[in-house]
Symmetry: C2
Subunit: 104 residues, 2 copies
C-alpha cells in the first residue's frame, strides 16, 4: 500500500460538481502539495493554474487536453496537463486519483 | 482551517456503495488513525468494530444507532457509535466527515 508520510491534511474536503468530484489536500514538509480525490462517473471539465500530473490510482476514464485527442486510461495511468489550460474528462467508473501541482 | 499534521495517508481511497461513500485513512505517529470521508445523499447502514466518533464537518443527515431514535445533524455535529454495533444514516446533503476509532 502506497502511503505519503509526514504530511499535513486539511480536515475539510474540496467538493465539486455536487459531490461527484471530491478531494483532500495534503501538504508536504517542503511546502509542495497534492490532492487525493475521487471522481464518480460523469463528464467534467477542469482548468489548471500550475502544470498538473494526474495520477489515476484506479478507474476507467477518457481525458482530452486542450487541442488534443481523447485518450483512455483503464485501471491506472498518468497524464500531464499544461499550466493555465483546461482538460475534459469522461469518467466511466469510480476513479481514485492523485494530482500533483508542478511548479515549473 | 483545521488540519492534521505529521500524518501518514494511504494513497488509495476506501470506496463503498459504488463511490457514494468514500474515505481516506490517516495514521498518526502514535499509531491511532482516523478516516476523512465524503457521503453523497442516500441511505446507508454501517457496522463498527471499535467505538467510533463520527464528526460531521459539514452536511445534513439523520442517524440512528442500534435501538435508538433518529437524530438529526444539520451543518456540523458529533455522535458516537458503540463498538461492535451498527448504525443507519439518511444523508440529505453531501456530507464531509471525520471518523475516529476509539480503542477503549
Amino acid at each position: 500500500m502506497t502511503t505519503f508520510t509526514d504530511v499535513t491534511i486539511d480536515k475539510k474536503a474540496n467538493v465539486y460538481f455536487e459531490g461527484r468530484v471530491t478531494s483532500r489536500k495534503i501538504t508536504f514538509a517542503d511546502g509542495s502539495y497534492k490532492t487525493l480525490g475521487i471522481m464518480l462517473p460523469g463528464t467534467y471539465e477542469f482548468s489548471t493554474a500550475a502544470r498538473e500530473e494526474m495520477d489515476i490510482t484506479a478507474g476507467k476514464l477518457r481525458y482530452k487536453l486542450a487541442g488534443g485527442d481523447w485518450e483512455t486510461i483503464d485501471g491506472s495511468g498518468v497524464f500531464y496537463v499544461p499550466a493555465n489550460s483546461t482538460f475534459s474528462l469522461e469518467v466511466e467508473t469510480v476513479t481514485d486519483y492523485c494530482c500533483t501541482y508542478l511548479e515549473d
